[in-house]
Symmetry: C2
Subunit: 231 residues, 2 copies
C-alpha cells in the first residue's frame, strides 16, 4: 500500500469521461496496482479510481505539462479494457509505503439469506401447525422466498426483506397473482416478513389482504441456538 498526499488533477477516460480540477488529495496505490483518489469527505466511494486488473506507470510530464507545473504523471491502464486514469501531480506532500499482507476477509451476518434460512427452520413462528413446503420455490417470474402451509393446509407464499418497502409488496403481489392461477396451488395467501416494515408498505400489503410480520433477528437467532442446544 502506497499512500501519497499530492496536489494533482485527475482525468478518467473509459465508460465515461471525468475530470478532477487541481486540488490536494490522497492517492492510494494498492498492491494489485489499483489506484484510489480520495478527498477529505464524502462517503467511502473515491472521487476517481481504477479497479484491478490494472497497471500504474509513472511517466515524465511532456513540455506543456511541465510548463503548467506538473512534476510527474501517473498513467493507470486497465488490463482488459481501454479504461485509463491519468493523474497529473503538481506537488507531493507525503509519500509512504507499507506492506499489509493479504487480508483474512470479512465475516458477515444478518443478511436476507440468513433471515430466510432462520425463518424456514422456524416456520412455526408464523403460526402453530404451519409447515415448510420449500425455500426458493420457483415460479416463471422468479423464486418465492418461502412456500409453506398454514394449519389448515392452505398454501402461503412468504416474501422476506430486511427492510420492507413497497416494491417488496409489489413483488409478492405478482407471485400471488401467478400462483393463484395454478389450480394445484390456489388459494395461496401472502405473508410479508421483514425486520422493519414501512407504514406505506404495510398499508398497501394489508389493503391487498397480505399479512405483515415483523421479524426479530436476535430472537430468531436465539431460538435457533436453543434448538441447536436441544440436539
Amino acid at each position: 500500500m502506497r499512500m501519497v498526499i499530492a496536489t494533482c488533477s485527475v482525468d478518467y477516460d473509459g465508460r465515461l469521461t471525468a475530470h478532477l480540477p487541481l486540488a490536494k488529495r490522497l492517492l492510494l496505490v494498492k498492491a494489485d496496482g489499483s489506484v484510489l483518489v480520495h478527498s477529505d469527505g464524502g462517503s467511502y466511494k473515491p472521487l476517481n479510481w481504477m479497479s484491478p486488473p490494472c497497471a500504474m506507470a509513472e511517466v515524465e510530464p511532456d513540455e506543456a505539462e511541465a510548463a503548467e507545473g506538473v512534476v510527474a504523471v501517473w498513467v493507470v491502464q486497465h488490463a482488459k479494457s481501454e479504461d485509463r486514469l491519468r493523474v497529473r501531480i503538481h506537488e507531493v506532500h507525503d509519500d509512504v509505503r507499507h506492506d499489509l499482507g493479504v487480508d483474512p476477509g470479512l465475516v458477515k451476518d444478518g443478511v436476507e439469506a440468513h433471515l430466510q434460512r432462520l425463518l424456514a427452520e422456524q416456520i412455526e413462528v408464523l403460526g402453530e401447525g404451519w409447515t415448510l413446503t420449500r425455500r426458493e420455490y420457483q415460479t416463471p417470474i422468479g423464486p418465492v422466498d418461502i412456500l409453506c402451509r398454514d394449519a389448515t393446509g392452505q398454501s402461503v407464499a412468504v416474501e422476506i426483506k430486511r427492510r420492507g418497502e413497497i416494491d417488496g409488496v409489489e413483488q409478492l403481489t405478482r407471485y400471488l397473482e401467478l400462483m393463484n392461477r395454478d389450480p394445484h396451488l390456489a388459494p395461496v395467501t401472502g405473508v410479508f416478513a421483514a425486520q422493519q416494515i414501512k407504514p406505506q408498505a404495510r398499508t398497501l400489503a394489508e389493503d391487498r389482504g397480505i399479512r405483515c410480520v415483523v421479524l426479530d433477528y436476535a430472537e430468531l437467532k436465539g431460538l435457533d441456538d436453543t434448538t441447536l442446544r436441544l440436539f
Copy 2:
C-alpha cells in the same frame, strides 16, 4: 485526513453484523469523522466503514481487551442511527495527518443524459426528414426518452442507453405497448439507441420490430460543435 496503519480487528453492528479478524490494515479518518478500513487489494470499496454523519471517539481498552493486547479502541457512532463501528487496535505502525481542504469536485461527461440531449438536437441522425416531438415524453409508466416523427409523420419512441442490454429493450417494449393503445398516437414504432448494443438485446429488439441504432458519441458531439459553429 488522518491515515493510520494499524494491526487491528474491526466489528460493525447496525444494518448487519460484520467482523474483521486481526490483521494489518489502513484506517482513514476523514475530516467529517467518517472512517474507512482498507486492505491492500480488492476494489474501491473498503472492508468496513462508517459513513457521515458520525463521530469517532478513541477510548481506553477494557481489562479483557487489554489482556488480549489491545492498546486503543475506536468507537465510531453514526449520528442518526444505531450503526456503530468498533476498531480494536493492537499495534500502530504509522499515524499521519494532512489538511486537504474542500475538494472542487468531479466534472462528468458522456452520461446518458448528455447522449439524450445530443440526439434530440440532431434527431435527423435517425433518418432524413425526422422531427423531434419532445424529450422525456410522459406516459403513465414513466417518461419515454425521446418521442419523434419519421419522414412520413408516424410517431417513433426512442430509448437511449449507454450500453444497450435486454432490460432496456423490455422498458421500450412496455412504452410501445402502452402508447399503441392510444388512438391519437398509434401506430408508434420503436428505436433502441445505444453506444453499444449487446447481441442478445439486439436479437430481442429486432424480433419485436424495434430498430437498433449504435450511437457514436464523439461523432454526435462533433456534429454538435459544427452546428454551434454555424451560429
